[in-house]
Amino acid sequence: MLEAFANFGISWLDPWLLMLTAAGTLAGIYVGAIPGLSVTMATSILISFTFKWPVNDALALIAGVYMGGVYGGSRTAILLNIPGAPSAIATAIEGYPMAKRGEAGEAIGLTTVMSVFGGFVGIAALAMFAPVISSFALMFNSRDYLLLGLIGILLVGTLSGESFAKGAFAGALGVLIGMVGLDPMTAEGRFTFGSISLMGGIPYVAAMIGFFGVAEALVQLQTLDVPAIKQKIDRVIPKLSDVKRYFWLAMRASGIGTIIGALPGTGGDIAALLAYDDARRSVKNPDVPFGEGAKEGLVAPEAANNAAVGGAFIPMLTLGIPGDAVTAVIIGALFIHGLKPGPLMLVETPHLFWFTVGNLALANIFLLIFGLTGIRIFTKIVECPKAILIPLIIVLSAVGTYAIENNPVHIYWMLLFGVLGYFLKTYGFQVGPIILGVILGPMMDSNYRRAMIGARGDIGEFLWNFVSHPISLVLSIGFVLMVLSQTPLWPRLLKTIGLQRQ
């Protein structure tokens, strides 16, 4: 216990780590806020620069960027009606009308306080539940990991894309990209075409930066000429009466956010929309109707999306299954530093777990400080034209990709993925499941083969194992229901068992 507390406090007492966390949080707020820059993009580029650093330094910076970035999107949503990140879509619906009424400062203040509140709820849940889940996860079998991987990829694919088929395609493409190279079990070449550079596999950082950096920059070219609207800023510190009044709503939204964040495959954006929807249903008489600047509609999604950060760390650290694209990238960072997120992480490296918890809490405090200050300078910076941003994103992407192994070939991979990502995005595919597939693919492959070898190569026994063990059975049912719910059979099935609403 004492040891856990000591590890929790490492970044609070070390001035260098304190500085890195602060810098990360501040940078995250701007990255999240500037339309065209995303936290996923920034984290994937950051990984390539911090991989030579000590683990603690890199984690401190990345935790700050993540925490700040999830919050930062709300500022542009309020001020410019452009959600800086998908998790701020609901915030824009209520925040922008408030800004138009001249209450931009108040909206930002309330958003900040509630984000920090939600953040703490999520972190508390991480500290309490991760050790429990982790000891439970030690009972997981290789086939359970295979199922968890499948569920994670499919959830990201179905919840965010245009159609289930497009999500499934993206996930499978990611898995395929992850398969390229020498097979880790038999050292046989897969999709290597005799090329030595392909034998090492396709570098996943190049894929991440290509899909999230370059592709996004190319998509942004379309909206180069959209002008920004300026807002007046008044008082920023929210009224104490407001904070008291919305306390229980924020508590409830944080609960939703933590749970949604903790589910594999769902992150802050879905948490925010669900909490917003829940607030709309549960708040009976808002002072201002929803959609016209209701504070309730601002509090709920903001508390929820920051609570989802702590929630998302739970499956990532205990099961090694990323909750969404950003956590997939963070898992990539942990791999680079030689760490293996999973049930053994808390047993083998408990100090890293408590360090992460402490670090997220610290980043949350910095969020409060930076969130309530510097808004005037902020409005100047986010007005930075995209014509300047886009070329800079490309230069940063190129340096980032090169930095990992000093290999120019990786830069060409990045460009290829960037162009492919542009077309995929344009035609309604999501790139998130691809990255999840790249990260989870090799893990799923080895677990599949272990499970198959365990069943002595007998397909009947292999399938029987999925239903004859309690954990596998629950996961299998979840997986089958998920796939079924996306087919035309689902409404018919609901009708037969009498669940369909008339």
Binding site: F164, A165, M179, R190, I394
Partner: protein
Amino acid sequence: MSGQSTRRPGELAFICLLALFSAAALWQAYDISEFTGLSQPGVFPMLAAATMLLSCVFILRDTLRTRPNQEPGQRTAFWHTIMPMRLMVMLAMVALYLYAMPWLGFVIASGLFLFACFAYLWRKSLLISLLLAAGSLAAVYFLFRIVFEVVLPQGTLVPAGVL
């Protein structure tokens, strides 16, 4: 769950390309270890490629159900909305930049690239673009070379130790 009713220009062709790619991937995956056993290295790649191909069939079906763009300029619509001139120029500049980097080195290549992009996209005076390019290059160099200590491509054109 399909949310669109009209087909985007070039969408059908793109989906067909994806289907072709998936089929080729499936064939290559089969080549890895054929059907020699269920725990062979080729099984999972085959499953992934088969999933891609199957999804493509469904996506193709959904796409065929959408209304094709009936307007007369269908052929030009692709170049207008999906591959506009600005995108193609940018892509050419990016390709040239990445191609020239191992040769010119990071500093010169990035400087030229940033200047060309600012001049093309921002359309302010050349002097402003030049100053901006120099300023942002200095910031990037300081941050990554000095703070993060990243090794940047030196380039074969510039003798070692100059930059």
